[in-house]
Point group: C2
Chain length 124, copies 2
């Protein structure tokens, strides 16, 4: 639930068990709804209330939209203790391992280097 | 770009500048397309190729869908050096700070405790 000016700006419900869309967490649904409604990428004046502790996907979406007041009512540890699926759990360690496993294939200096092409475009 | 069995399973393009949807990163678009096409939450047999270093949002989506082979051609540091917007940058430190700032409002033990209600439901 996203709250702005003491009113509900948007609500989201987890749709993971309905559709094949991993981004269907309740937090991300609420953020998308609020963005579409308010036509903005800036939700810095909103607070978010989540039933479960937000995962790194949703936290990052909050970060990018400027949301800094985040409340949750049950921790990841509580969820795990109550039988949450292993696949739905992302720990700091899991994230770090995945990040460390990424493979860097640089195009820097080549004709197709996307960063250089982008920089040339915006600096025109 | 998501690759499965040496063929392109799905492609995604960043839509952040077109629509108000923070989850419009190319990686997440490709994942959603592949999920819709293949009707699965399991993309563990796919590799992903990204132009820029994936953020924690997209990495977590990869984690949840089982994607473990991740390639990228330009680092976050390169993007920043070439003038990427500050708002589009999420460092490990930013994520940690946001995570540490979250406020836990436990409902544990109350009649409305969502984790308990969920656990009761699945263990019926």
């Amino acid at each position: 639930m996203l709250v702005k000016d003491k009113r509900i700006a948007a609500e989201g419900v987890n749709t993971l068990h309905k559709t094949f869309d991993i981004s269907g967490h309740a937090e991300l649904q609420a953020i998308r709804k609020a963005q579409a409604k308010l036509k903005t990428n800036d939700l810095s004046d909103c607070s978010i209330y989540a039933s479960g502790e937000p995962c790194a996907m949703c936290l990052t979406a909050m970060y990018f939209t400027g949301i800094r007041k985040i409340y949750y009512s049950s921790s990841l540890a509580e969820a795990v203790a109550n039988g949450f699926e292993k696949s739905e759990v992302m720990t700091d360690q899991n994230l770090k391992q995945l990040k460390d496993s990424m493979i860097y294939l640089p195009l820097a200096g080549t004709v197709d280097d996307p960063v250089r092409l982008w920089a040339e475009g915006v600096n025109k």
